[in-house]
C-alpha cells in the first residue's frame, strides 16, 4: 500500500530525513519509534503532504502512485489520514460542521453527492459512541479549549469518520491519561481491518501495549536504524534510546 524509497527531506536546506525506506501493506500496523529530534514527526508530515517540507531525493508511493505533486487534500482523498500531535484550535467552526465539510469535500472529489443529512447524523452518532464522546462536545468549536486528551480523542473520532486507508498516528499517546489511552486504542483497534493500515509514531512503548504492532522500526538521525517485531519495542523500553545512539545496533 505505502512504499517509501530512499526518502530525503528537510526544511530550508536542513536535511532531516536522510534516506528512509519503508513498506507498509494492507492489514499491517507499524510502529516508528525514536528519540526526540530523530525525524519521526517530519516523516508523518511529509507523508501527509505538508508544504513546508521539501523532498530532495526519493519518493513516497501510495498504491504505486507517486505522491510528490499531491496537495494535502488530494492525499486525504486518496485515503491518507494523519492524527496531529498538536491539533489546531479553530474557533467558530463546530466539530460537527467541520466533519460535514470534510466528508462532503472528500465525496465531491470522488464525484459523489453530499451525504444526506440523516445519514451524516447517524454516522456521527455511531462514531462518537465508539470514542465515548459526549454529544455536547460535537457542537463545540473545533479543539478550542479542549483538554489534551479531548483533542486526541477528537483526532481519532475524525479518523473514524473519514475511514482512511492509511492512518498515521503522530504521538497520539502524549498527553493522554490511562483511561483516555484505553479509549483511543480501543477505537483504533475497532477501526483496523485487513484492508487498511496504521503507522504509529511514538516515543514510548506504552501505546503499543494497547495497539499491538506487527513491525517496529527505530528511527535515529533521519534513518531507520533497526526494524523488528513488537519485542523490539520492549527491548527499547528496557535499554533506552542510548542503546541506539551509542551505535550498538549498527
Amino acid at each position: 500500500m505505502l512504499k517509501i524509497n530512499n526518502l530525503h527531506a528537510g526544511v530550508e536546506g536542513n536535511e532531516i530525513l536522510k534516506g528512509i525506506n519503508l513498506e507498509v501493506n494492507a492489514g499491517e500496523i507499524h510502529a516508528i519509534m525514536g528519540p526526540n529530534g530523530s525525524g519521526k514527526s517530519t516523516l508523518a508530515s511529509v507523508i501527509a503532504g505538508k508544504e513546508e517540507f521539501e523532498v530532495t531525493e526519493g519518493n513516497v508511493l501510495l498504491d504505486g502512485q507517486d505522491l510528490e505533486d499531491s496537495a494535502p487534500e488530494d492525499r486525504a482523498h486518496k485515503g491518507i489520514f494523519m492524527s496531529f500531535q498538536y491539533p489546531v484550535e479553530i474557533p467558530g467552526v463546530s466539530v460537527t460542521n467541520f466533519m460535514k465539510t470534510a466528508i462532503n469535500e472528500s465525496r465531491k472529489a470522488r464525484g459523489l453527492e453530499d451525504m444526506p443529512a440523516n445519514q451524516m447524523l447517524k454516522l456521527i452518532r455511531e462514531k462518537a459512541e465508539l470514542l465515548e464522546i459526549d454529544r455536547k462536545f460535537l457542537s463545540r468549536s473545533l479543539n478550542e479549549g479542549f483538554s489534551g486528551g479531548e483533542k486526541k480523542r477528537n483526532e481519532i473520532f475524525q479518523m473514524a469518520m473519514l475511514e482512511p486507508k492509511l492512518a498515521i498516528l503522530d504521538e497520539t499517546d502524549s498527553g493522554l491519561d490511562i483511561d483516555a489511552l484505553r479509549i483511543v486504542a480501543n477505537g483504533v483497534n475497532k477501526l483496523k481491518s485487513k484492508d487498511n493500515a496504521v503507522i504509529i509514531i511514538t516515543h514510548y512503548q506504552r501505546l503499543l501495549d494497547y495497539i499491538v504492532p506487527d513491525y517496529v522500526h527505530v528511527l535515529h538521525e533521519g534513518k531507520i536504524v533497526k526494524s523488528g517485531t513488537k519485542e523490539l519495542a520492549h527491548e527499547l523500553e528496557a535499554k533506552g534510546y542510548d542503546w541506539i545512539k551509542n551505535g550498538a545496533v549498527v
Binding site: E73, P87, P91, G92, N97, F98, A117
Partner: protein, 438 residues
C-alpha cells in the same frame, strides 16, 4: 457649486418646508451656522486622517429628491428580515413610505420623526431628548441637525418591550442621478424597557448616494438596547453614520456593525456612560473587497464608576480595500473600577489592502482594568494544513478559516434569523461553499 455651499444655500429652501416657529428650528438654525463655519472635515483633522471626503464633495448631489418615489414590496423583500415578524419604518429616497412600513402606537411609539417634530403630543419628549446627546460642534452631525426632519422615532415607556424587532430601512431608488440624505433617528428606552433594532441603508441602483445619518439613543435605568447595523450597500453608496448613545445606571446597550459593502463608510459610534454598573458593547465584522473603504471610529466615555465596555472588531480586507479602526476610551478620574476592553483583529488577504488601526486610551482614574489589542495578520498556515489534511481543498479551507475568524463575533447576536442571515452574507462575501446549514 461646491457641496458645502450648495448645502448652506439649500437651507433656505428647506425652511420653506418646515415649521420655523417650532423650537426645534432654533436648534437647526444654530446647527447650520456651525456647519457653515466648519465645513466638511479634511484629512488634516486627526480624526479624518485616513478617510477623505474630497471625492464625495465633487459630486453634484441633489439635496432633496425631486419627486416621491414608490417601490413594490417584492422588489425589496430580500432586504427585510422577512423570515420573522417585525415593525418596519421604511423610507424611499428619504421620504416615509407608509405602504412598506408597519408602525405602532400600541403602548409604545414606533413611528416617524416628522410626526414627533411637529405634533404637540410629542413635544415634551422632544424637549427633553432631541439633540441632547448629539454633538453640537462636529460638523457632519450639525449638518444633519440642520436638515433634521425625517427618520425613525421610537419611544419605549417604562417596563415595556415591543412585541417584535424594529427594522429601519432606507432605500434609494436611483431616480436621482446623485442624492444626499440626512436621516435623523431618535430612540428612547425608558427604565426597564427593552428593544431590538436593525438598521439598513440600501441603494437599488449604481447611482451615487451619500447618507449622513444621526441616531440618538437614550437607555434609562436597567434598559436593554440591542442595535444592529447592516451595511451591505452598492458600490456607489456612501454612508456617514453618527450614533450617540447615552446610558444610565445598569443599562445594557449592544451595537453590532456588519460592514460588507458600500463605497465609503464611516461609523462614528459614541457611548456616554452617565451612571453606574453600565454595560456597553460594540462589535463589528468588516469584510471588504474592490476599492471599498470602511472607517470605524468608536468612543466610550466612562463618566461614572463601576462600568464596563467591550469592543471586538474583526476585519478581512481583500483587493484594494482599506480599513480604519480608531477606538478611543476615556476614563474620567471619578470612574474607578472601570473595566474597558478593546480588540481589533484584522486579516489582509491581498498585498494591496490596507488597515490602519489605533487604540486611543485616556485614563485618568487609577483603579481600572483596561486592555486593548490590535493584530494584523495572515491566515494561520498550520490551521490551513490541518483542514487540508482532512480533505478540505485549500481555497475552501482558506474561506472556512476566514469565516470562522469573523463569525465568532456573532455569538452575541440575539435574533437567530438575523444571525443566520449575517452568516450567509459572510459566506457569500468570502465565496465559501459551506458544507453545512447555517
Amino acid at each position: 457649486m461646491d457641496l458645502k455651499d450648495k448645502l448652506v444655500s439649500s437651507f433656505l429652501a428647506f425652511e420653506s418646508k418646515v415649521d420655523v416657529e417650532h423650537p426645534v428650528h432654533d436648534i437647526r438654525s444654530e446647527a447650520i451656522k456651525n456647519f457653515e463655519d466648519k465645513g466638511f472635515p479634511s484629512k488634516k483633522a486627526e480624526a479624518w486622517k485616513y478617510t477623505s471626503l474630497k471625492g464625495l464633495q465633487k459630486i453634484d448631489f441633489s439635496i432633496f429628491p425631486k419627486e416621491v418615489n414608490a417601490l413594490e414590496y417584492k422588489e425589496v423583500k430580500k432586504f427585510f428580515l422577512h423570515e420573522i415578524e417585525t415593525y418596519k419604518i421604511v423610507f424611499i429616497d428619504g421620504i416615509y413610505s407608509s405602504f412598506l412600513s408597519e408602525t405602532t402606537h400600541d403602548g409604545v411609539d414606533i413611528c416617524l420623526m416628522s410626526a414627533a417634530l411637529t405634533k404637540p403630543m410629542y413635544k415634551p419628549v422632544i424637549d427633553v431628548y432631541f439633540n441632547k446627546i448629539a454633538s453640537k460642534d462636529e460638523s457632519l452631525t450639525t449638518l444633519n441637525t440642520a436638515f433634521s426632519r425625517e427618520g425613525a422615532y421610537i419611544y419605549i415607556p417604562k417596563n415595556k418591550m415591543p412585541k417584535k424587532p424594529i427594522e429601519i430601512l432606507h432605500f434609494s431608488t436611483g431616480n436621482e442621478t446623485s442624492l444626499m440624505l440626512q436621516p435623523r433617528n431618535l430612540i428612547i428606552a425608558e427604565e426597564n424597557a427593552e428593544l431590538q433594532v436593525i438598521e439598513r441603508h440600501q441603494s437599488l441602483t449604481s447611482n451615487e448616494v451619500l447618507t449622513n445619518s444621526v441616531t440618538e439613543i437614550f437607555a434609562a435605568e436597567n434598559a436593554i438596547v440591542d442595535y444592529y447595523k447592516v451595511q451591505n450597500d452598492s458600490k456607489a453608496a456612501s454612508l456617514i453614520d453618527n450614533t450617540y448613545i447615552n446610558q444610565k445606571d445598569k443599562s445594557v446597550v449592544k451595537v453590532h456593525t456588519f460592514s460588507f459593502g458600500g463605497k465609503l463608510t464611516r461609523n462614528n459610534l459614541n457611548f456616554f456612560q452617565n451612571g453606574e454598573h453600565i454595560d456597553s458593547t460594540m462589535k463589528g465584522v468588516t469584510i471588504l473587497s474592490d476599492k471599498q473603504h470602511v472607517d470605524h471610529h468608536t468612543l466610550v466615555h466612562h463618566i461614572e464608576p463601576n462600568c464596563e465596555s467591550h469592543q471586538d472588531y474583526k476585519g478581512i480586507y481583500g483587493e484594494n480595500s482599506t480599513g480604519v479602526f480608531n477606538g478611543k476610551i476615556i476614563v474620567d478620574k471619578i470612574a474607578q473600577k472601570t473595566n474597558a476592553f478593546q480588540k481589533n483583529n484584522n486579516i489582509l488577504i491581498s498585498d494591496k489592502a490596507t488597515i490602519n488601526t489605533k487604540p486611543q486610551l485616556e485614563i485618568f482614574a487609577d483603579d481600572v482594568k483596561c486592555s486593548h489589542g490590535c493584530t494584523i495578520g495572515q491566515l494561520d498556515e498550520e490551521a490551513l494544513f490541518y483542514l487540508q489534511s482532512r480533505g478540505i481543498p485549500k481555497k475552501e479551507a482558506r474561506a472556512l478559516l476566514m469565516y470562522a475568524f469573523a463569525n465568532n463575533v456573532l455569538e452575541s447576536v440575539h435574533i437567530p434569523e438575523l444571525k443566520s442571515r449575517i452568516n450567509k452574507l459572510i459566506a457569500l462575501k468570502l465565496g465559501v461553499r459551506l458544507g453545512f446549514d447555517l
